[in-house]
Amino acid sequence: MLRRALFTTALASFLAACGKTEQAPEAELETAAPSVGKVDTKLAELGIELPEAATPIAAYTPIRKVGNMVYIAGQGPQNRGVVGSDYTTEQAYGFARAAGISVLSQLKKACDGDLDRVVQCVQLQGIVRSTDDFTEQHLVINGTSELFRDIFGDAGLAARAAVGTNALPVGFACEVIATFEIA
C-alpha cells in the first residue's frame, strides 16, 4: 500500500516534470488495484484459492529475484510422514500439489500480485521423504508439475528433478523448490 502510494507520488512528479498534468485520478488507480488476471481466472476455474504466502521457519527468505528470475525457497505441505510406509504414492501426489500451491503463493508475492507476469517455470526440484524401497518419487512430484501445467500450460512444465530422501525438516512428506522466469 505504501509502495503503491510512493509510486503514485513518483508518477505524479514525473508527469509534472514532463510538463503534463496527471490524467488518472487516485481513485481510479485504487479501483484498478485488485485486477483479476488470466491466471487468477484459471485458478478460480480449478477451484484453487491461494493461501497467504508462508513465512519462513528458519534463517532464510522465501523469495529471491535476480533480473527476471524468481527463486522460491523450498515449500512443504501440511502433511508429515514417510511416503512408502505412512502414505501411498497417490496420497503423496496430493501433498506435492499442496506444496505447489504454496509455491504459487510465494510466486504471486514475487510478481506483486500479478501471476500473468509468469513467463515459464524453469526448474523444479522435488524431494520426497521416502522409505528405502520407495521408487515412485517422479509420480509424487507430478502432483506439482501437473498443477503448474494446468495453470500455465506448457510454460508451466519445468526442467525437473524428482528425488528421495530419508528425512526432511519438521517431518514434511515432501518439499518442492522452483525457479520461474517472469516478465
Binding site: G84, E90, V122, Q123, T131, Q137, H138, A158, G164, E181
Partner: protein, 181 residues
C-alpha cells in the same frame, strides 16, 4: 489402478528414459562432435516430452537440464551404491547420466554443442547405503566426462550428495545448468 499405470507410463518418460529408444543425433560435424567421436561417446537425440516435464529450459543464455537417469546400452543402472553396486559401478552410471545430459543439451543448442561456453552447476544424487561416503567420487563420472569434452569450462560448481532412494530405483540422478552462446 488404471490411474496408477498411467502415472507410471508418464513418469518413466518424465525421467528421460529417452536414451533407450532415442534416435542417433544428426551429425553436424562440430569441434565437440569430433571430440565426442574421439572419446567414443555416442549422444542420442533427446525425445520430445509427452508428460509433465521438459528435458530442458532456456532462459537467456542459460540452459537448465532436467534430472537425467543412468540409461546405458544395457538399460537403466539400478541399485544402491555401497551395497548393490561398487563406487566404480556408480561412477560408470553417473557417466551415463552425463551422456543423457548431453542429448538434452544438444537439443537445447539446436544440435550444435560448440555453442556451449561452460558448465555452471551440477547436482549429482547418489542412491547410497547409509555408510557410503564416496558420492563425490561417483559424480566424478559426470564431471570428468564434461572435463574431457570441454576442458576446464566443463567443470561445474558442483554438489554431490547421497540419498536413500531415487525414482525407479536408479543408482544416481544428475541435473545440470550450462551457459551457451
Amino acid at each position: 489402478m488404471e490411474r496408477r499405470s498411467f502415472f507410471a507410463a508418464a513418469g518413466a518418460t518424465a525421467l528421460g528414459v529417452s536414451l533407450l529408444s532415442g534416435k542417433a543425433a544428426a551429425q553436424s560435424g562440430g569441434k565437440i562432435d569430433a571430440k565426442l567421436a574421439e572419446l567414443g561417446v555416442e549422444v542420442k537425440a533427446a525425445e520430445a516430452p509427452v508428460a509433465a516435464y521438459v528435458g530442458w529450459r532456456k532462459v537467456g543464455n542459460l540452459v537448465y537440464v532436467a534430472g537425467q537417469v543412468p540409461a546405458g546400452p544395457d538399460g537403466l543402472v539400478l541399485g544402491t551404491v555401497g551395497k548393490d553396486l561398487t563406487m566404480e559401478q556408480g561412477k560408470a552410471a553417473a557417466r551415463y547420466c552425463g551422456i543423457n545430459i548431453l542429448g538434452q543439451l544438444k537439443a537445447a543448442c539446436g544440435g550444435n554443442l560448440d555453442r556451449v561456453k561452460q558448465c555452471i552447476q551440477i547436482q549429482g544424487l547418489v542412491n547410497s547405503a547409509d555408510d557410503f561416503t564416496e558420492q563425490h567420487l561417483v559424480v566424478n563420472g559426470t564431471s570428468e566426462l564434461f572435463r574431457d569434452i570441454w576442458g576446464e569450462p566443463g567443470l561445474a560448481a558442483r554438489a554431490a550428495v547421497g540419498t536413500n532412494s531415487l525414482p525407479l530405483g536408479i543408482a544416481c540422478e544428475v541435473l545440470a545448468i550450462f551457459e551457451v552462446a
